[in-house]
């Protein structure tokens, strides 16, 4: 499977394959430019989709980013397809304000380990199952409940 996929350079192939594989779980897809694919999924399905891309497409986890929006924190998993395929698949999911939790991928794939710690301390998203949620970037005496990358953050301590 992987060898055949490594030759596949058509972005539409990946969009169709993911739609076929996951069906209703894919809420929306966008394809604004040749090499950029955005896929919107629910947060409970995100780890499954990301792992599928990682293992079946031989995708490289470039990074994940958190974005603070009015509804909650959006998390984007940027998966790069190398070997001259020139495609970025971005799996987007929303962690709503009511329930700041999402399943960890870092517990299975070490490439996600650090970035989950970073998103945890900067945005306050809890990664369920992550073995090590200590501070990564901030000082050890950083006050609890202050998440600097949230838009409503004020430094008043």
């Amino acid at each position: 499977m992987i060898d055949r996929i490594k030759e596949q350079k058509d972005p539409n192939f990946y969009i169709n394959d993911i739609k076929e594989r996951f069906g209703d779980k894919i809420l929306d897809t966008a394809h604004p430019r040749h090499s950029r694919i955005y896929i919107l999924v629910d947060k409970k399905d995100a780890p499954e989709v990301v792992k599928y891309i990682f293992y079946e497409y031989a995708g490289r986890h470039s990074i994940s980013s958190g974005v603070d929006t009015p509804d909650g924190v959006e998390i984007l998993y940027h998966m790069a397809l190398d070997n001259q395929r020139n495609i970025f698949i971005n799996v987007k999911t929303l962690v709503p304000r009511e329930d700041f939790r999402i399943e960890s991928i870092g517990k299975d794939i070490p490439a996600f380990d650090w970035i989950e710690r970073e998103i945890h301390e900067l945005f306050g998203v809890e990664f369920v199952g992550h073995p090590d949620m200590r501070h990564l970037l901030l000082a050890d005496d950083w006050p609890d409940g202050k998440y600097p990358m949230r838009k409503d953050f004020r430094r008043d301590f």
Partner: protein, 395 residues
């Protein structure tokens, strides 16, 4: 149960750049576990850029790292161009490529020098840094500064090259080839180097994939990944060059990748300077529409990744920056365990992190007694091991 010793290393190191704190758990001479504490250098850049305009951000991201001071702007301007849906004119693309490759040579030479120092070859350190000055001279002539070139802007570049500058750069770039050949041969032909570096700190291909490492660290582990070729941008698809891949995943492989890449960089610069197209250098970006974009660039240490989201105002809504060391650093948890303490300095250096370890080494044994050793201890251990090998080989 055997007694386990804990060695904290850092966070200040006399020789290298950034502060960092490692904790090694050792059993005798063997490392059994390892932990690292970063954050001594956290400057809140992702938050600061949200309060600056699109043009100002170029200067902020340039100051993420002094050695990669082209890589971050390069990725950032591509991300903004991705949002705006424009492309920089060809002349600007060539100029960007030239600056980026100059930076790659000076960064790799810097690394070769420091790696030489770590194994006790101070001559290599002095030679490599002397050769590096040539590159800084060219950069100064072309851009006006030795580092922090301030050449990039969303949509193009800020300054054009004139004929005199191009001629100067073409002449001086040839001066890099010979010393580089000398250093490469000195390292590749030396049996001591082979004995010291081969089989040390192996990062297997499977581990490299699991950790998603990038750049020379991945290419030293038999992964044929290079963003410049796989996701073409700039002028990289218009010039001839090769991706250097080595199969073994040890320190030697990574060193060879970097040494050979220097020659490729010289080739790229030479071709770009000779075939520099005429035309404008700026696409005149006037506003950034709402949307999101991704920019990538193969920095000397690996892929730099920038993600920006715009809400249509004159500032980014979100700007995510990922430097290559962020992906490479966790991987030496896989490559250091089972190795000797004397090799740790070398293995951590082999991924070329934006800093390297030792300063104040304190040995804490399990009962909590603490004795502080003299500084630069790991480097000394490493240098002593080289000396030992040299004697064994009768050199």
């Amino acid at each position: 149960m055997k007694k386990k010793t804990v060695i904290p290393i850092g966070p200040y190191h006399p020789l290298l750049e950034e502060p960092e704190f490692f904790i090694l758990y050792v059993d005798g001479e063997t490392v059994v576990d390892m932990d690292v504490r970063i954050g001594y250098n956290h400057r809140a850049i992702e938050k600061i850029v949200e309060s600056k305009t699109w043009d100002q951000d170029t200067f902020v991201v340039e100051r993420i790292c002094g050695i990669c001071s082209t890589s971050h702007p390069f990725a950032y301007v591509q991300a903004v161009e991705d949002v705006a849906g424009i492309e920089a004119p060809p002349r600007a693309q060539y100029i960007r490529t030239i600056i980026a490759e100059l930076e790659r040579i000076h960064s790799h030479l810097l690394w070769v020098g420091l790696a030489g120092h770590f194994i006790g070859y101070n001559t290599v350190f002095m030679w490599a840094w002397k050769c590096r000055e040539t590159i800084l001279d060219i950069s100064e002539k072309l851009t006006g500064n030795r580092n922090h070139y301030a050449m990039f802007k969303p949509g193009g570049v800020r300054r054009d090259f004139n004929d005199e500058q191009i001629e100067y750069a073409l002449k001086r770039i040839e001066e890099v080839w010979k010393p580089n050949e000398l250093i490469t041969n000195a390292i590749l032909d030396d049996p001591v180097m082979h004995a010291r570096l081969k089989g040390v700190g192996v990062l297997s291909t499977e581990d490299a994939i699991a950790y998603s490492v990038v750049g020379p660290t991945a290419r030293g582990s038999n992964l044929d990944w290079d963003v410049r070729r796989d996701h073409p941008y700039g002028a990289y698809d218009k010039v001839k060059w090769d991706v250097c891949v080595q199969p073994d995943g040890d320190v030697f492989s990574k060193a060879v990748v970097r040494l050979l890449e220097n020659f490729e960089s010289v080739k790229i610069i030479r071709q770009c300077l000779e075939n520099l197209p005429d035309g404008p250098i700026d696409a005149e970006l006037s506003e950034v529409p709402p949307g999101e974009g991704i920019g990538i660039h193969e920095a000397p240490r690996g892929e730099v990744f920038h993600y920006v989201r715009s809400d249509g105002s004159n500032m980014p809504y979100r700007h995510k920056v990922r430097a290559p060391t962020f992906m490479n650093l966790p991987s030496f948890k896989a490559s250091c365990i089972g190795e000797e303490i004397a090799d740790v300095a070398l293995i951590t250096a082999s991924i070329d992190p934006c800093y390297c370890c030792t300063e104040r080494v304190g040995v804490v044994d399990k009962s909590g007694n603490r004795s502080t050793l003299k500084e630069a201890d790991l480097i000394k251990l490493s240098q002593e091991k080289t000396e030992l090998i040299r004697k064994k080989l009768g050199k």
